[in-house]
């Protein structure tokens, strides 16, 4: 059974027409939601930054004052990580960097780690993870206080060899039935502190204009 050329052309044009229609629908929705989505993402970021670095301590816009760094060993991922810098009167106050604990129980655990200028931790939050609900998910601030144990800690307190869960001879609690998860997070936080110590002289460098422009509109 051969299809007449005319029929084939008609089918092809119809298919093309619907492709154009579908694409227009998506393009139109994208255009009308784009700013709102960008604003949402920005709000979420500012919200999580403010949970770690009190807004009273800085007067710039850390979400916009950011640089991108890559360190597969200490930041846990071959992918670029963000560093958001908080300043007051132009002087560095603290920074928040994203990092990954690659050795969670079920894959990567993404973290947001805020470090004060003096190298002490302003706070740590888990941003995404796939740890076992009810066991490993106590690393979430919403589910337990565990993650607050990092606040105020630094590489001098406790000393590096104590930056472990208790089971491994360190000072941080593990969870009943889940040691792998907290162990991974403790290690990632420690590595991030190491990273900060090695790079603290340059991490606050680079003016806003040198920062790669964000796709988010300023608002």
């Amino acid at each position: 059974m051969t299809m007449p050329l005319k029929k084939m052309l008609l089918s092809a044009s119809l298919l093309g027409l619907f492709a154009v229609l579908g694409t227009s629908l998506v393009a139109f929705t994208y255009e009308s939601t784009r700013e709102r989505i960008a604003q949402n993402e920005r709000d979420t970021l500012v919200h999580s930054l403010n949970a770690l670095i009190p807004p009273a301590h800085y007067d710039n816009d850390p979400a916009a004052d950011r640089i991108i760094v890559t360190d597969p060993t200490l930041l846990g991922s071959p992918l670029p990580q963000q560093v958001y810098r908080a300043r007051k009167d132009g002087q560095p106050v603290a920074l928040a960097l994203t990092a990954v604990a690659p050795d969670g129980y079920s894959g990567d655990i993404s973290l947001l780690i805020a470090i004060n200028l003096d190298g002490s931790l302003a706070g740590v939050r888990v941003t995404t993870h796939r740890e076992t609900p009810g066991l490993g998910d106590k690393i979430e601030a919403a589910r337990s206080d565990w993650v607050h144990a990092f606040t105020g800690r630094s590489l001098r307190d406790p000393l590096p060899e104590k930056w472990k869960v208790k089971k491994d001879g360190g000072i941080f609690d593990q969870f009943t039935g889940a040691t792998v998860t907290p162990r991974a997070v403790v290690k990632a936080v420690r590595n991030a502190l190491d990273y900060y110590q090695q790079h603290r002289d340059t991490l606050f460098d680079g003016s806003d204009s040198a920062v790669p422009q964000q796709e988010v509109p300023h608002g």
Partner: protein, 228 residues
């Protein structure tokens, strides 16, 4: 196919041919997101909206498309609709969108949507396709909510936790702590709990159907409703 009344179409969608309990379609999202009521409701409504929009659109163009290209056209339309819904959810229900994540985009692959397009919307007028999409979607959403409620209740002892993600800050008060000091029942929240829960719900539906079949038939009310 003999012409069904709207009531029969609705009955099929909600009960006799329920997407989740009878057709057992769309299991991937069904099992993955139903760890609580709000997630189930969120995905259920998104799927419902997709079903209605795709059924109506496909019914509207059913005389235009040729049989040899209908499947690619259906898939393209469904994918566009789902992408639009995903963007809209990201804009207006940002946090819920974050939780449901990939499963919103995966609505495209929910067989029930292409299934209804092919089996129903491409052969029926817009009104009937709308009713079919609406009731099939409601049936699926109800299954998601029911399974979510079961797992949340057993797993964490609450209901409507995180309702503020959908209904705004005021809805934080919707959270019901059913069991105080509940230690949690991990199995219910983990994936096996979803399978067991779905199995129990299907068994329940079958039991109800069997009871009904055995009970003496009431005067068939359907006879009075003359087909349109």
């Amino acid at each position: 196919m003999a012409d069904k009344t709207l009531r029969q179409i609705a009955g099929d969608g909600l009960w006799h041919n329920n997407v989740a309990f009878v057709q057992i379609l769309g299991l991937c999202p069904l099992l993955a997101v139903t760890s609580n009521v709000v997630n189930g409701l969120g995905l259920g409504l998104a799927t419902l909206l997709t079903l209605v929009l795709s059924n109506v659109t496909i019914s509207a163009i059913r005389n235009l498309i040729r049989p040899d290209i209908r499947i690619p056209v259906f898939v393209m339309l469904i994918a566009s609709i789902v992408t639009a819904i995903e963007l809209a959810m990201n804009a207006w229900f940002h946090e819920l969108h974050g939780i449901l994540g990939i499963f919103i985009a995966l609505i495209v692959t929910n067989c029930s949507i292409l299934g209804r397009a092919e089996a129903f919307a491409s052969k029926n007028n817009i009104g009937r396709s709308f009713v079919d999409g609406l009731t099939m979607g409601l049936g699926f959403a109800a299954a998601l909510v029911l399974l979510g409620a079961m797992r949340e209740l057993l797993g964490s002892g609450t209901l409507f936790d995180q309702a503020h993600l959908m209904f705004g800050e005021a809805a934080r008060a919707f959270r019901l702590t059913v069991f105080e000091d509940y230690k949690g029942f991990l199995l219910a929240i983990l994936p096996p709990g979803a399978f067991i829960g779905l199995g129990l719900l299907i068994a329940l539906k079958n039991t109800i159907d069997q009871r009904r079949a055995r009970a003496p038939q009431p005067v068939p009310a359907a006879a009075e409703l003359a087909p349109e």
